[in-house]
Each structure stands twice: as C-alpha cells, then as structure tokens.
C-alpha cells in the first residue's frame, strides 16, 4: 500500500503547478547555437577578411577544416545540451571520447595546415589570437549555458566543460579562417589554449552551480523535522 503524498510536499507542488511546455529535444535546441556559428562564419571573415594565405591552403584545408572543427564543436555542445535532460547524459567514456576527438581534430587541422602552408613560421603574436578566440567563444558558451540552465543538468560541471570546449572549437573554426599563422606551436599553445580556457571556464561555472544546488538541498533537508 502506497503512503499518501506528504502534506508538506503536496502543498509545495500544488502552489507551483502551472502548466509547463516541454523542452524541445537537444537536437532542436542545438539549432540556435548552430545558427550563431553560421552567422559568425559569414560575419567574421566579412569583417576581418580571410587569412592572406587562404589561396595556398585550398578549399578543403580552409573551409573543410573549419567545417570539421565547427561540427566537432557542435557535437560537444549537443552532448552538453543532452546533459540538461535527466537520463540522457552521456557516459564518462563518451564524454572522454568526444573531448579526445576535439583534441585530435585541432591537432590534425594544425598539422595538415602547416604541411601545406608552413609559412609564416613563428610563435606569435599569440596573445591577440588567444584573446580574439576567447572573445569569439564566449557568446557560444553563454548561449549554450543559457540553454543548459533552462533544462535540468544533473552534472553541471560536465555540461559546462562540454559546452566550453564546444564553444572553443566553434571559435577556433572561425580563427582558422582569419589567423594566417600555421606554425603548430602557435596553434597548439594559443588556439588550443583558448579552447582549454573556455572549457575550464564552463567547468568552473558548472562547479559553482553544483555547489549552489548542494547548498540548496542541504537547506531543504535541514528544514525537515
């Protein structure tokens, strides 16, 4: 025999029982981030211009590599959005594989680009690249986190990490179009550095969010007799 609903719980639920619209599936919400990426993909080169050695790279190494990075970034954002639906979160293995794939795509693009077009071979100016890439990634990260917050992520740090690295890859896809330096040291330190920074930023925000949720649960449980 099932016990009746505890009166305290019933009162809390009934006081906020307004109808809610079910969230759209993660793939549908991903379209918002994809649209932002598409707009930036058109807007950034239009504003700044393509890298001066774009013609040396050819279509596939320029646009194909950008597309590969952008799609990998969107895949990570998709996983972050799935984290927002209880029971849909990816396993640790899938998350690790996705992060590994992101690193491999970044490394592959860097090495292939350098092999085709080894100049200019220099390490700098890195801070400018790091800053612009981070600034390009922040809107995508913010958009992703807004979409995640509107859901109910069971692991906010994991969602934040995936969203951050995904946003970083999207930003790096844009940076690949405008930054002419193909020296792998430059790409792997400053470009990858920006991706890691955005990932850590997402992770940090997720940890803060989780700590807040733990405190709130603690207060709820302490309030019980």
């Amino acid at each position: 025999m099932t016990a009746p609903v505890p009166p305290e719980l019933k009162a809390k639920v009934l006081s906020h029982l307004e109808p809610v619209r079910p969230l759209a599936p993660p793939a549908v919400r991903l379209v918002l981030v994809a649209l932002w990426g598409l707009a930036a993909l058109v807007g950034v080169p239009a504003l700044v211009g393509l890298r001066f050695n774009a013609s040396q790279l050819g279509f596939w190494l320029l646009w194909g590599a950008t597309a590969a990075e952008a799609l990998t970034g969107l895949l990570l954002v998709f996983l972050a959005l799935r984290e927002g639906i209880p029971g849909l979160g990816a396993s640790v293995g899938v998350v690790a594989s996705a992060l590994g794939a992101a690193f491999l795509v970044e490394l592959g693009v860097a090495l292939l680009t350098h092999a085709r077009c080894p100049c200019p071979a220099r390490f700098g100016p890195g801070v400018a690249c790091f800053t612009s890439e981070t600034l390009l990634g922040v809107p995508a990260l913010v958009l992703t986190l807004i979409l995640v917050v509107r859901a109910y992520p069971l692991s906010p740090p994991r969602a934040g990490l995936l969203g951050g690295v995904g946003a970083g890859l999207l930003a790096d896809a844009l940076q690949h179009l405008v930054c002419p330096i193909s020296d792998p040291r430059h790409v792997l330190v400053w470009h990858l550095g920006a991706i890691i920074f955005l990932g850590l930023l997402g992770l940090g925000l997720g940890l803060l969010w989780q700590a807040r949720r733990v405190r709130s649960l603690e207060e709820d449980l302490e309030g019980k007799p």
Partner: protein, 183 residues
C-alpha cells in the same frame, strides 16, 4: 510497481506537465514505493530515504519541463533520484568535514514492508547490502525496477555494455557471497 506500465506513466507525466494535480498524485502512487526502496538501498537509512524521496519528487517537480513526451519515464525519474542521493552525499560529507566529526557508523539496512520488493528475502537483502554500492545499484535497477540495461546505463551514466558487465560482476559476487554464507 516495478516493471509497470510505461505508457500509463507517460500519460501521467504529460498530465503533470499540463498542470494537472492528478498527474502528480498518480506518479507518486505509481513510483513512490519503488523509489523509496531504491533510495533505501542507496543510503541504508530508512528515515533519510524518506527525506530523499520527498526531495526527489520536489526535484522532479522543478524538472518536469525536461521530460520529453513519448520517452520512457523511469530512466528520467531514476536519474533524478540518484542525483538527489549523490547531492545529499556531497552535502553530508561537507557538513561532516566542517564539523570535523568522526566517521558516522552506517545504520543497519532496514528491510521494511514497502522495500521488500527491492531487497527480496531477508538473507538476500543482507547479501545485497554487502555488495559495493555501484554494483548493487545496477542489480536493483535492472532486476528489481525492471529497467533495461540501456536505461540503467542512462541512469548511471554508463554505456549499455558497461552496465551489463557491472551486473554480471555483481551477480558473480552475489553468488560468491551466497556460497560463503551457506557453505
């Protein structure tokens, strides 16, 4: 109602999302006993499990917009219940660390009437309690709550294959414990 009608649960969830109190009450009626058993098996404290059950339904209420109509309800609900338990463990550990208390003794596993479906006969319940938490959870979710391995994987954040492997190991361990208990 382990292994109960998913369609019915789905209808209750949709009604709940539409603001129907009967939807909430129906979910409570259908799921509270099995969730209580699940939470008891996780925290091994009947009183705490009751608090966690209420907290689970409160979180279920806050997250009700994230249920995707047409999807199975149980993996969604169990994922929330498990998360409430894990959060409460974090809160407890933090409190203990702050208060610098000695490690608390875990209370005996209670096998109350509504939890018997979860832990079966008394002997089996004791054997289950000896299993590590991670392996015990897979057995309970699959063999008692009736979730498929795919659904168990979703609740625990594992792949379907990893859930199967964990369940297999848990059964082996359970057999070993049973042999030791009844030589």
């Amino acid at each position: 109602m382990a292994g109960g009608n998913e369609d019915r649960l789905g209808q209750l969830m949709v009604a709940y999302q539409q603001g129907d109190a009967a939807g909430f009450e129906g979910l409570w009626e259908a799921l509270s006993a099995e969730l209580l058993g699940y939470l008891r098996s996780l925290c091994r404290d009947p009183h705490r499990a009751e608090d966690l059950l209420q907290e689970t339904f409160l979180n279920l209420h806050r997250a009700r917009h994230t249920y995707l109509p047409g999807k199975p309800v149980r993996p969604w609900v169990y994922a929330i219940a498990r998360n409430v338990f894990l959060m409460s463990e974090r809160a407890r550990r933090r409190r203990l660390a702050h208060e610098q208390l000695a490690e608390e003794e875990l209370p005996e596993v209670a096998v109350a009437s509504s939890a018997t479906a979860w832990e079966g006969a008394k002997d089996l319940g004791h054997l289950l309690a000896k299993l590590p938490e991670k392996t015990r959870e897979v057995l309970l979710l699959h063999h008692v709550a009736g979730l498929s391995f795919r659904e168990v994987g979703k609740v625990l954040g594992l792949s379907e294959g990893a859930a199967k492997v964990r369940a297999h190991r848990a059964l082996e361990e359970l057999r070993r414990l049973a042999r030791e208990a009844n030589p």
